[in-house]
C-alpha cells in the first residue's frame, strides 16, 4: 500500500475519448488472475475470520453466536494487553535502532573507502538467512555461549542469560530482529545516498560548509523520502513479528515477549479460534489506522 503510492505517477492527459479507447487484452491478462487469487487468499478468509469472531467457533464442529463476548473478554485480558504493549514498544525501538544504524552504515559504505563492494556484501549476508535459523543460532549464543564467556571473564551480569530475564528478553528480540533487518534497510539507504548528485557537495565545499553541516543540511533532507519508506516498511513488518520471537524466546520468559501475531496463530491451534479472530480484527483496524496516519504524514511532506 505504502510503496505503490510513492512514485508520483505522471498525470495522464485528460482526453475526451478515454472512455471509448479499447482496453489492451494484456491488461485483463495481468489483472484478472491477480485479482482472483488476491480475493481468494486475503479478503475472503479475512471476512470469514471477522464473521467467526462473533461466535464461539473453535475451527471445527458446531458453533453459536456470542455477540460481542469475545471482544469484551479481549479488552480485559492482561495477556492480550501485554502483547500489544510489547509489540508496539518493540516495533518503535526496533524501527529507531535499525534506521539509525543502517543510515550510519550506509554513509560509511558510500564514502571513499577501500573494499567498499566486499564490505557491502558482508553486511548484506544476514538478509539471505532465514529468520528462524537466525533465531535458533542466537538462542544458543544467548543461553550458552554468552553465559560461558561471562563465567570465563568473571563478568557477573553476563553469566545470567539475557533471554531468560523477563525484563531484558525484549532487548534480545530487538537485537536479533535488527541484526536481520539492517541489511535491507541499509541497501535502500545506499541507493538513496548514491542518488544525491556530487556537485551539490562540491558547491557546499566551495561555500565553506563543514562536513556536519553537509550532512544535516544536504544529505538528510535529500534522502528524507528514503527514511520515510524505511520507517513505514519497517514498522509494518515489526508489528507482525513472529518467526524470530518463536525461535528466540517462544514468547517467554512467561508471556513477556509474546507478540500479537503469536497470540493469533496460537489461537488456531489452541481451540481459541474465534477469540483470536476478534483479536486479529482489532489488530487489523489498528494497523489500518497506523498505515493511514503514516500515508497522510508522507503526503503532507511531499506537497
Amino acid at each position: 500500500m505504502a510503496i505503490s503510492s510513492l512514485p508520483s505517477v505522471p498525470d495522464v492527459p485528460e482526453k475526451a475519448d478515454r472512455k471509448h479507447r479499447k482496453v489492451e487484452p494484456v491488461f485483463w491478462w495481468m489483472t484478472v488472475p491477480t485479482l482472483v487469487v488476491f480475493t481468494l487468499a486475503i479478503p475472503i478468509p479475512a471476512a470469514i475470520g471477522i464473521f467467526y469472531s462473533f461466535t464461539n467457533y473453535i475451527g471445527v464442529g458446531k458453533w453459536h453466536f456470542l455477540g460481542l463476548a469475545n471482544y469484551i473478554a479481549m479488552f480485559t485480558d492482561p495477556q492480550i494487553r501485554q502483547s500489544y504493549i510489547f509489540t508496539i514498544g518493540f516495533s518503535l525501538v526496533t524501527v529507531l535502532a535499525v534506521n539509525v544504524i543502517s543510515f550510519l552504515l550506509a554513509v560509511g559504505l558510500t564514502a571513499r573507502i577501500r573494499a567498499k563492494v566486499a564490505l557491502r556484501t558482508v553486511f548484506v549476508i544476514p538478509m539471505v538467512i532465514s529468520g528462524i535459523v537466525i533465531a535458533y543460532v542466537f538462542q544458543f549464543l544467548f543461553s550458552n555461549s554468552l553465559p560461558a564467556l561471562g563465567q570465563a571473564l568473571g563478568v557477573g551480569w553476563l553469566k545470567e542469560s539475557m533471554v531468560t530475564n523477563p525484563h531484558l528478553a525484549w532487548v534480545a528480540v530487538v537485537f536479533v530482529t535488527a541484526w536481520q533487518s539492517i541489511p535491507g534497510t541499509l541497501l535502500i539507504y545506499i541507493a538513496g545516498l548514491m542518488s544525491v548528485p556530487e556537485d551539490v557537495y562540491e558547491a557546499a565545499d566551495i561555500d565553506g560548509a563543514s562536513k556536519f553541516q553537509q550532512m544535516t543540511r544536504i544529505t538528510i533532507p535529500l534522502v528524507f523520502s528514503y527514511v520515510v519508506i524505511n520507517t513505514i516498511l519497517g514498522f509494518k513488518g515489526y508489528l507482525n513479528a513472529y518467526d524470530i520471537i518463536v525461535g528466540l524466546t517462544n514468547g517467554g520468559p512467561g508471556t513477556s515477549t509474546m507478540s500479537v501475531a503469536m497470540n493469533i496463530v496460537n489461537g488456531l491451534t489452541n481451540g481459541d479460534y474465534a477469540y483470536q479472530m476478534a483479536n486479529a480484527t482489532i489488530f487489523f483496524i489498528f494497523t489500518l489506522i497506523v498505515s493511514l496516519l503514516q500515508l497522510s504524514l508522507m503526503r503532507g511532506r511531499n506537497k
Binding site: P33, T34, V36, V37, L40, N56, I58, G59, V60, G61, K62, L66, A69, N70, A73, T76, D77, P78, Q79, F142, S143, N144, P147, E160, S161, V163, T164, P166, N250, G251, G252, P253, G254, T255, S256, M258, N266, G267, L268, T269, N270, G271, D272, Y273, A274, Y275
Partner: protein
Amino acid sequence: MAALAAVAMIGAGLAGCSSGGRTKLVFAFNKREAVPFMQQVVDDYNKSQDKVNVVMDTSGLNSTAAGFVRGAPADLLLANFNNQAARYVNQCAVTDLSDTDAAKRVRPDVKALVDGVGKCPGRTSAVPYSIMAAGVIYNKDIFAKYNLQVPKTYDQLLSVSKTLKSNGVAPFFGTFYDGWTVSQGWFDYAAGGSLDLKSFFQSIEKDGANVGPNSSVSYEKDFLEPMNKMMTLAKDYTNPDANSKIYGDGNTAMANGKAAMYLQGPWAFSEISKTNPKANLGTFPLPMTDNPKDLKTAVNVDLGAMIPEQSKHQAEARDFMNYLFQPKIINAYNASQLGFGPLKDSAPETDPRVAGLRPYYEKGKIYAGPSYVIPQAIPIPQLAQSIVLGADPKDVLSTIDADWARFARRQ
C-alpha cells in the same frame, strides 16, 4: 487463468485419494521419538495388502488442527490425547468407535481417564493406545553413593535434596527455558501430588465464569501451597543455570550423571540413552505431603486413536486401526516407548526404569496432570515458567483464575 488452474490443482491435490489404483490413507502420527518404529509398521501394512496405501504425516498437531479447519483432516489420528485433541472429541468431530474390537478391550479405569479429558456424549471417540506414567527420574548410582533411600514424604525429599546439595551434587536438573518442561513436570507433579485433582476440576468447571477470589475453589486458593513447596525445590535445589537450560540439555545432563533427579516423563529415557545407554536410572512419584499413602503418579493418554468424521475413508481407516491394535504391535510399541498398555490384554511393562511407577498405575493411584486438562487457551507452560523464574505464585495463580473465568464466559 493459469493461476485459477493452479488453485484448482492444489484443490485436487488435497482431495486426491488414489495413487496408482490404491486408496491413499493419511495417518497423522507425530510422536517424534517413535516415528521410526511407526514407519516400519506402516511399511509392513502397505506390503501386507494392495488396496490401501498409508501415508504417515508427522508434521504435528498444528497441521492436524489446520486440517480440521480446512475440512480435510487426516483419515486416522494417533495423537497425544490432551486438552487440544479433546476439542475434536468435545465437538463430536470424530466418529464413534465403540463397535471396534479395540474399544471393547480397553481397561475401564483407563476409559474413565480418557473420558475425563474429553467426551462426546454417547460415543467412544478416542481409543487409548499408550499411557505414560510420569514421575521423578533419578540416578540410582548417585543415590547409592550417598546412601539415600527413595523419599516417600515431602520432608524426606527435602532431606535427600539437602544431603545431595551439601555434597556438591545438583539435586534436581531444571530445564526452565522450555516452558513445557516446567508445566509437565514441576507444576503438574506439585499440584497432583498435593490435591485431589479430580474433585478440584469437577468443582472449578461447575463454577466456570464465577471463578475468582471469592469462589469456593480457585487456583489461587488451592494451588498456592503446592506452588510454594515447588518453589522451595526449584529455587534452592536445582542446577544454578536451570533458567537457561532446555529439554535437550537436561537429557544430556542426566545421561552424564550431572544431577540426581529430573522431573520428566518416560519419553526422556529414549533421549537419555542416545547419550549414555548405560545410565542407571529409576523412577518414583514426587512426594508432596507427609503421608506415603498420598503418593500418586501422573499419567496421560500419550496416544489415542481417532477417526475424523470428515474423513472419506472410514472403512479403510478402521481397518488400519485394527491392524495397529493387534496385541503383537501395540505391546511392541509400548515396550519400545516405556508406555503402559491401556488394554485388558496388554502385556505388563517390564522395563526396570519405570518399575518405580508401575505399582501406582496398577492400583489406580493416578491423576491427570493439570497442564493436560486446563484448556490450552490459558498458556499454562508460560505461566508456570514465570513462577519458577521468580514471579509471585499468588499473582500468577490469580491470573489463571481470571483466564479461566474469561474462557468460560466466551463458550
